[in-house]
């Protein structure tokens, strides 16, 4: 503990900036870790009186320095001392000291800066003399000059009032709360002479003394600010003359610097200190050297991002990162000084120098974008910690189980009520019988004299004292009593039944309420995890600008669908892939301006990023109008590399040929520069997308450009699943992987493959006879035969899911349901015992020791039961060995531009199905309306006759068959071609539909491209018919 003295700097000097600086210096010395005591870590007895003196002295000094907020804060130290050595008390003291130190550092920097600008104060205000501890008061020793000064003079806190009004918003929310607590808390009386023990802190301990969660939150906040910073840089990129963006960048940098310095991320703070001055330095050349300025700012943002990651993982930024920042500050000064050179800064783009040959920092960032980190930074970017979400998810599971119990109770009560009803019926019957017998029995009873022996149940009871005769009071036999009791029992049972009925109704209401709550809770949780793609879009925009400057292209970037939301993890995992595609588009897709002009294209090329929903997926397209890719050259390269033989090459469709770009070992660098490098990194993109359970396809035309389409699920934790039963167990399968399902009799399965190769011979390698698949041809990719009359068909291998999972039962099945699965480049049928239903499920990851291949996780049924979620493609990939390695799906057929957009009426009672169909059909250019059932559909058809209708069969009110019957009787509506899309796969349903004039009969699940191809065919045929 430093010795306290009343000889304040205020008494040495008077007024002006100097005294305040001196006061700050003295305060800094008092609070320096070395002064607080590094010599021992032993617990020293410190009295509350000592603390009182310290806080009083600090309070006076802080008051003199105009830091009244800090003065109020330190006055609480003696109160904290009274509570020593409690952890809370130590934390409070630490919070005060951290806050005061940070404020002192800011004020010292400002005072030094202002004093340096004042006359005669230069010697006194040298940063090196500002305090004994450089880490507290000296500005960045490495970052100097205008850049650092620009940042340090942003805030004007030169007087008491300004200090009082210090902007606490620059600190994190939690820090603000701590600060407000200490700057507004009333003082309390300490206990004089009380001995307390406090552990002396060392400089090394300072950082450790700050609770980790606060440091974590600080970095999380800074990471969010970095996203805003990138958005500002992107804004600057769009409008270099818009200097507000530069000003906002400086302010944001200042704010972040304040935040991180509060939590003693010293190097990170120095980097940000350097950054906050850069925008002002660049301002004079913002227009004339916009590209260079943009490049520098982007690289600086990358350095800050890297520094944040290091701070999260190592406790602070590295020296290397600091040196990078210093180099960028110097570069900014050089760039700005060029504006002062003769002939510079004329304000035209012609002043731009040649772009740098390489941009190492940006390249590093693009090559290694922030993926899921275990460090402190990225875990909390959503401001909601994942473990909280997991906790919420567990709670929702608990609710599900609770609801299951309620349902079970309800069922039990139902059973009781049924039993009671049965008893009541019997009682009523008995009562009726007894009532009928009553006159006769009574007659017999009256013939028996009172008091004599006879059937006991007929003997009349003696009336009281035997003094009343029969005329005065009815006499009753035991039979009468029994009859009355019986009636009462019936009455009671009726009452009980009514009560039970009410109870059942209440239970049903509770159950419904809980279901609603559960649903809402799950939806809330799911949406908490979703983020929009704006951050991604900002990065893409910056990357395009940067790449264009690097490679000498002129590019116009267009981004649509920034508001599209996607799971945060997927978004982060996609950044690398998207950036790779964008960089490829600019570097290898877009031609040089002179090339484009020679091809009669605009000199400015176009690159676009479009994001949209497609059912339960997000579709992201990255396209360019550049040189495109020639599939023949790709095939030649693949043959040359031994990836394909000539025979295989001959049978490739265009889509399959383009998909060769994703081959890991295919290099086209030697191919005359036409497609040079276009495939670089695309195998990594493919791997990344497949890992997200997504798909990627490419469309390309030479000299017209390329479009890469990535489809990924909106969330990895929710899934539309098909529930199946195998050997008594229930499993869920991602619906997206199922192309079609159909019933297969045992007799329809052949015993073995006729020409099976050893590696393809597997357990139960069987063929369904009835599965017909059209042969692939260059004009027509592999696809299901459209009807049973197809002349050509292929047989596909069949696997038993029970055998794949080793859960076979002894009893053979007479029929199976076959699921046609997309397993990479081939289709495979998987046999299950029964298809139960389809639903949207929430997947829970299994603990690490329970994870298995092909098991995505588990989910909980609405009745509380558990089931596994299987990845059939993965399961089959293992069974098929190397035959079914995951491959990109062929590009979906894109409808040709039409003069008139076909209007499709979708009729389905499933809201998710309607939504999925609307998304799929709208995305390929159809105008879609939808109806929930036949009645609603009929109304829409009468109002506006559609060009085609997609119709479900099973629907409330008016089902599909009934609707078909109705419209066949109407001349106008009968012309509307109908494609049935149903889960009814039986032949009789198919036949009935065809008899009612249906043009195509498809069973769910049906891939979008198959549905679209059928719609196209039916529409084409309808147009050709008179």
């Amino acid at each position: 503990m430093s010795e306290l003295s009343d000889n304040t700097p205020a008494q040495k000097a008077s007024g002006g900036l100097g005294p305040r600086l001196d006061t700050v210096r003295e305060l800094t010395e008092i609070l320096a870790p070395s002064a607080v005591g590094e010599q021992t870590s032993e617990e020293l007895p410190i009295t509350a009186e000592t603390f009182r003196q310290l806080s009083a002295r600090l309070g006076r000094l802080l008051g003199l320095a105009g830091m009244t907020d800090c003065a109020r804060a330190v006055q609480t130290l003696d109160h904290a001392a009274e509570q020593l050595p409690s952890d809370e008390s130590l934390r409070n003291i630490d919070a005060v000291l951290v806050y005061v130190r940070a404020r002192l550092r800011d004020v010292a920097l400002m005072e030094s800066d202002e004093a340096a600008q004042g006359p005669g104060d230069a010697a006194d205000t040298s940063p090196s003399t500002a305090g004994s501890d450089d880490t507290l008061v000296s500005p960045s020793p490495a970052i100097s000059g205008d850049a650092s000064r620009a940042g340090t003079t942003q805030a004007n806190e030169g007087d008491d009032a300004a200090a009082d009004a210090v902007d606490v918003s620059q600190y994190s929310v939690k820090t603000q709360a701590v600060i407000r607590k200490f700057t507004t808390a009333p003082l309390r009386q300490r206990t004089p002479g009380e001995v307390v023990h406090v552990k002396q802190r060392s400089a090394r301990d300072d950082r450790d003394q700050i609770p980790e969660e606060l440091r974590r939150e600080c970095l999380s906040e800074a990471t969010g600010d970095l996203a805003d910073l990138r958005a500002l840089i992107a804004s600057f990129g769009k409008m270099p003359g818009h200097l507000d963006a530069l000003r906002d960048m400086a302010q944001l940098g200042h704010k972040v610097k304040g935040t991180v310095s509060t939590y003693l991320f010293d190097r990170l703070a120095e980097i940000l200190l350097g950054f906050e001055g850069v925008p002002r330095v660049l301002q004079p050349v913002a227009v004339s050297r916009s590209a260079a300025c943009l490049s520098l700012l982007i690289r600086f943002a990358d350095v800050i991002e890297a520094a944040l990651h290091e701070a999260g993982e190592q406790g602070d930024a590295s020296e290397e990162r600091l040196r990078e920042a210093q180099a960028l500050v110097a570069e900014a000064q050089v760039l700005a000084s060029a504006a002062d050179a003769p002939g510079a800064g004329s304000g035209t783009g012609a002043q731009e120098g040649p772009p740098p040959a390489v941009i190492p920092v940006l390249d590093r960032s693009i090559a290694q974008p922030p993926g899921p980190h275990r460090g402190l930074v990225d875990e909390d970017v959503l401001r909601v910690e994942p473990r909280q979400l997991d906790h919420l998810m567990h709670q929702s599971d608990g609710l599900a189980m609770n609801r299951a119990m309620l349902a079970q109770t309800s069922e039990e009560i139902h059973r009781i009520q049924e039993d009671m009803d049965h008893v009541l019926t019997r009682l009523a019957s008995l009562t009726a019988q007894l009532t009928d017998l009553h006159p006769f029995i009574r007659q017999v009873g009256e013939q028996v004299p009172a008091g004599t022996s006879g059937p006991r149940w007929l003997v009349r009871r003696e009336t009281s004292g035997g003094t009343w005769d029969d005329l005065e009071l009815d006499s009753y036999t035991i039979f009468d009593d029994s009859l009355r009791s019986l009636s009462e029992a019936v009455l009671d049972a009726n009452t009980l039944s009514s009560s039970l009925q009410a109870l059942i109704q209440r239970l049903a209401r509770n159950s419904d309420d809980q279901r609603t709550v559960l649903h809402n809770m799950q939806q809330t949780i799911i949406h908490l995890r979703l983020v929009n793609l704006k951050t991604l879009a900002d990065r893409v925009m910056l990357a395009v600008h940067q790449a264009a400057a690097t490679y000498g292209r002129q590019v116009e970037i267009s981004i649509q669908g920034e508001e599209t939301e996607i799971d945060r993890n997927i978004s982060e995992a996609l950044i690398a892939s998207i950036m790779q595609l964008v960089r490829n588009a600019v570097a290898h897709g877009i031609e040089l301006p002179e090339e484009r002009v020679a091809q009669r294209k605009p000199a400015v090329g176009k690159v676009w990023l479009h994001a949209s929903y497609s059912g339960n997926e997000v579709c992201i397209e990255v396209g360019d109008d550049g040189r495109g890719v020639n599939p023949h050259q790709l095939i030649a390269a693949a043959v040359s590399e031994g990836i394909l033989d000539a025979k295989q090459a001959d049978h490739l469709t265009r889509e399959q040929a383009l998909a060769l770009m994703f081959e890991p070992n295919l290099s086209t660098m030697d191919q005359a520069g036409v497609i040079a490098g276009h495939g670089i990194g695309l195998d990594g993109v493919l791997t990344s997308v497949l890992r997200l359970r997504g798909s990627i396809s490419v469309r390309s035309e030479p000299r017209q450009g390329s479009v890469f389409q990535i489809r990924v699920p909106i969330s990895l934790s929710i899934m539309h699943a098909l529930h199946v039963r195998v050997s008594g167990n229930e499993y869920a399968i991602p619906l997206a992987s199922v192309r079609r399902m159909f019933e297969v009799p045992a007799s329809g399965i052949l015993d073995s493959m006729p020409d099976a190769e050893p590696e393809t011979t597997i357990t139960a390698a069987l063929y369904p006879r009835r599965l017909r698949v059209s042969r692939p041809s260059p004009e027509r990719p592999l696809r299901l035969a459209e009807d049973a009359s197809a002349a050509l068909y292929d047989e596909v291998p069949v696997f038993s899911l029970a055998e794949l999972l080793n859960v076979t039962e002894d009893a053979p099945k007479t029929t199976h349901m076959a699921l046609l699965i997309d397993a990479g480049q081939r289709e495979v049928a998987v046999l299950v015992d029964k298809v139960l239903d389809e639903s949207e499920i929430v997947i829970r990851a299994l603990p690490a020791h329970l994870r298995r291949r092909a098991v995505l996780g588990a989910s909980i049924r609405s009745d509380g039961g558990l089931f596994l979620v299987l990845d059939l493609a993965d399961l089959l990939a293992g069974a098929l060995g190397g035959m079914a390695a995951p491959r990109p799906q062929p590009a979906p057929a894109t409808p040709q531009p039409r003069q008139r957009v076909p209007r499709v009426l979708v009729v389905d009672d499933s809201i998710s199905m309607r939504r999925a169909l609307e998304g799929a059909l709208t995305s390929v250019g159809y105008e879609v309306r939808s109806a929930r059932d036949g009645v609603e559909a009929l109304g829409l058809m009468i109002a506006d006759v559609p060009d085609i209708m997609v119709l479900d069969i099973e629907m409330p009110r008016l089902d599909g068959f009934e609707l078909l019957s109705v419209i066949r009787g109407n001349e106008a509506l009968a012309r509307v071609p109908v494609v049935v899309l149903t889960s009814r796969a039986a032949e009789k349903h198919h036949r009935q539909a065809m008899e009612l004039g249906v043009r195509a009969y498809l069973t769910k699940p049906c891939p979008d491209e198959i549905l679209i191809s059928h719609l196209q065919r039916v529409l084409r045929e309808s147009q050709e018919r008179p």
């Binding site: 567990h394 709670q395 599971d397 608990g398 189980m401 008594g728 167990n729 999972l805 080793n806 859960v807 829970r844 299994l846 603990p847 690490a848 020791h849 329970l850 994870r851 298995r852 291949r853 092909a854 098991v855 588990a858 909980i860 509380g864 558990l866 089931f867 596994l868």
Partner: protein
């Protein structure tokens, strides 16, 4: 020294304190009642509560650490009670996990956690063929454990009257497992000196592997001996084995 007393209804048993002067003591506080509830067997709790009802002095809490007595593959075992998270009343219905060894009997949901159910016997007794020693089988979600002979009067401590095959939950968080056991019995209180070194293991008809054994606990009467298990070692071993299984299918 066992201080919890035996599970008997006899009031003459030495381990059960006899009623003292009635009416002289104030009623028990809630905390005293809770102490009693935690520290005694069911019969002792009943007796103590009766004593409390009569205003008698409550019995002193037992000395020593509580150990849960149970059987695994018909072998009497004991382990510190604090190492168990929960004792299930019956074996749970589980979901079979594909690509798992026979001793992995699926998983189930308990208090919103997903927990694997395993038969520890193959590991405890280090069968040369782990697959064959596990007698438990999973059939349509039901775990079937071949019945063990009913406990005789002498080894009552190993089975409550209604006891049958059940599961003990050990570990926490991601490192949580449920172990199939034949029967769960009483809680005994043992001081360190009550647990003998391994030298006594020869007296056991069948003993777990050395690495899982912390010693042998013998009741004061000397009739029953229990292998005291190192549950943390067993948990690590089982989790490692499961992870190896998981990695084998990666």
């Amino acid at each position: 020294m066992l201080s919890g007393g035996s599970m008997t209804t006899s009031h003459e048993d030495e381990s059960i304190p006899t009623p003292r002067s009635a009416g002289a003591q104030p009623p028990l506080s809630l905390s005293q009642l809770l102490t009693l509830a935690r520290a005694h067997t069911i019969d002792e709790q009943r007796i103590a509560l009766e004593q409390a009802h009569r205003g008698e002095t409550p019995v002193a809490p037992p000395e020593g650490a509580p150990y849960l007595l149970f059987t695994c593959a018909d072998v009497a075992c004991a382990a510190p009670l604090t190492q168990f998270r929960e004792v299930l009343p019956t074996l749970p219905t589980t979901v079979a996990l594909p690509f798992s060894p026979p001793w992995m009997l699926g998983f189930f949901a308990l208090h919103t956690e997903l927990i694997g159910l395993v038969d520890p016997a193959p590991f405890l007794f280090e069968s040369p063929d782990l697959a064959t020693l596990s007698r438990a089988r999973l059939r349509n979600g039901r775990v079937i454990l071949p019945g063990s002979p009913s406990p005789s009067r002498e080894n009552w401590r190993l089975a409550m009257p209604e006891s049958g095959p059940t599961a003990l939950i050990i570990g926490s968080g991601e490192r949580m497992l449920a172990l199939v056991v034949g029967r769960v019995g009483d809680v005994a209180y043992a001081k360190p000196g009550d647990i003998s070194a391994d030298a006594d293991v020869a007296s056991l008809p069948r003993a777990p592997a050395t690495r899982f054994r912390a010693g042998v606990y013998r009741e004061p009467g000397g009739q029953m001996a229990f292998s005291v298990l190192k549950m943390d070692v067993l948990l690590d071993t089982l989790l490692d084995a499961l992870k190896v299984e998981a990695a084998g299918y990666e």
